[in-house]
Symmetry: none
Subunit: 231 residues, 2 copies
DNA sequence: TCTTTGTTTTAACAATATCTTAACATTTAT
DNA sequence: ATAAATGTTAAGATATTGTTAAAACAAAGA
C-alpha cells in the first residue's frame, strides 16, 4: 500500500473515527491520538506525512503542539478548530499550519484538504542533475547515464544511486541508505539493500565482480568512488 | 542582498504581516500596500519583481488593479482571493494573473507559489505556440497538430499535453501534472491522470501500446520524449 | 427546463514490473 | 579455521500502470 500516513489528533472519539473512516477510504493509513502527549509521541515515533490537529485538547494545547512539531520537522499540519475569529486562524497559520478547517466540518471537505496539502507540499530543492565522472544522474528527467549510455534503473535503484552520487566517496551504512534513499516509512530488512546494490552493479559495472564505481566497505557499508578513474 | 522585490497588497494588516514574515524568511525584500491607490503608486515607483494582490480592496478593486498593472508591465501577479466561484477565479487569470491562492490560505503555500512563479520568471509568460518534433501545440488557437494532422483534444487533454510539451524530457509525477495542468483546486484522484494519458495516447500515438511520445516512467510519472525521432 | 451530447471521474480488474525475503554460496578479517 | 559479513539466486509478495465501462458531471440545444 502506497498510502501516506496521517496522524489525527482530537479528544472526541467520534470525530476521530469519522475522519479516520474518510481518510481510510482515500487510501491513507491513519493513526490517532486523543490528547497532546500521545500526539507528540506518535508523531515522533511514526513520522507521519501529515497531521490533522484539533486545537482544543486536554493537556497541552493544540497551538503549543503545533509549535513544537514545527520545530522538529516540516510535517504539514491541518488545524481543526471551532474557533472562528481571524485572530485564532492567523495564530495557527503563523505557527506554520498549512491549512485549517473550522468545526463543524464536513469530513469530505477535510479529506479534500488533506489530498490538496499532500499534493502541493512535496516541493522543490536539491540539484536537478549531477555529473560525476562518466556518470550522470538527471533527477528532473529521471534518467541516469554511464559513459553516455542510458542505465535502465528501477525506482529504488535510481534513488539509491542518486543518494550515493550526492556525496561521492562517503560511506553509507545500509541504515543510512534506507534513510536517504527509501524514506522513513520503509520497513524492510537491511540486507535488502545488498540485493539492490547487486542489481545496480550489474547495470553500471563493466565487471560486476570487480566493482569500479560501487565499492563495498567491509563492515561499514557502500560508497561511490570519488576518483572515477582507474584502479 | 540579491533578494527579489515583492509587493504585497492587502487591506488586512495581519495578513500582510504574515505574508511578509514568510517571504522575508525566503530572502525576498517585501514592500506592502493596504489599498489600491497605494498599490499602484508603489508598483510604479518600485517596479517589483512580483505582486501578491488581494482582490477585495477598499477603493479600486483588485481586478481593476490587475488589469491596469497588466497594461503597464509584465510583472507577475499572484492573486489572493476569498472568492471561490469559478467565475471570479477565471476572471483573475483572464486578466493575466500568474497564479492565485484562495483565502484562507497557508502562508507556506503562498511562499511556495511565489518561488515557483519567480523561478520560471526569466522564461516570461510562456510561448503561445510550441513545436516539438512533429507535434505542434498552439495555445492561442487552442489547437494541437501531429504531423500536420489536427488532434481532437478535450480541454483536459489539451492542458495535459500543453504542460508536458513545455518541458520535454522532464518527468512529471501525477501530482505535478495535476498542479500544472488542472490547477491546485482539483480535488480528484491521482489515477484519473492515467485515464487522460490513455486517451491522449490513443489520439497521438501511432501504436498506443508502444508509445513513441508519451512515455511512462515507472514509479515516477510520465514524460514527453525529447528526441522525437525514430525508434 | 429538459434532453442530448460529450467530457471527466471513479471503481474494478488485468497486465507488468519491481521488491523483498530466505536460503545458500562466497569472501573477509582475525 | 571459523565466525561474521557480503554476494547471489530465484520465487512469492507487492506495487504500479493499463484498460474498460459505468456513473457523475457539464455544456449546448430544443
Amino acid at each position: 500500500m502506497t498510502g501516506k500516513k496521517v496522524l489525527v489528533v482530537d479528544d472526541d472519539a467520534k470525530t476521530v473515527e469519522l475522519v479516520k473512516l474518510y481518510l481510510n477510504r482515500d487510501g491513507y493509513r491513519v493513526i490517532t491520538a486523543g490528547d497532546g502527549n500521545e500526539a507528540l509521541r506518535l508523531a515522533r515515533e511514526n513520522s507521519p506525512d501529515l497531521i490533522v490537529l484539533d486545537l482544543m485538547l486536554p493537556g497541552i494545547s493544540g497551538l503549543e503542539i503545533c509549535r513544537i512539531l514545527r520545530d522538529e520537522s516540516d510535517v504539514p499540519i491541518i488545524i481543526l478548530t471551532a474557533l472562528t475569529t481571524d485572530d485564532d486562524r492567523l495564530k495557527g497559520l503563523d505557527l506554520g499550519a498549512d491549512d485549517y478547517v473550522t468545526k463543524p466540518f464536513s469530513p469530505r471537505e477535510l479529506a479534500a484538504r488533506v489530498r490538496a496539502v499532500l499534493r502541493r507540499l512535496p516541493g522543490e530543492r536539491g540539484p536537478e542533475k549531477i555529473q560525476h565522472g562518466g556518470l550522470i544522474v538527471d533527477f528532473l528527467k529521471h534518467e541516469a547515464f554511464l559513459e553516455g549510455k542510458p542505465l535502465n534503473l528501477t525506482p529504488i535503484e535510481f534513488k539509491l544511486l542518486g543518494a550515493l552520487v550526492k556525496e561521492p566517496g562517503r560511506v553509507f551504512s545500509r541504515a543510512q541508505i534506507i534513510d536517504k534513499a527509501l524514506g522513513h516509512d520503509f520497513n524492510g530488512f537491511d540486507r535488502t539493500i545488498d540485493v539492490h546494490i547487486l542489481k545496480l552493479r550489474r547495470k553500471l559495472e563493466p565487471d560486476p565482480h570487480h566493482p569500479r564505481y560501487l565499492k563495498t566497505v567491509y563492515g561499514a557499508g557502500y560508497k561511490l568512488l570519488e576518483n572515477t578513474g582507474e584502479t
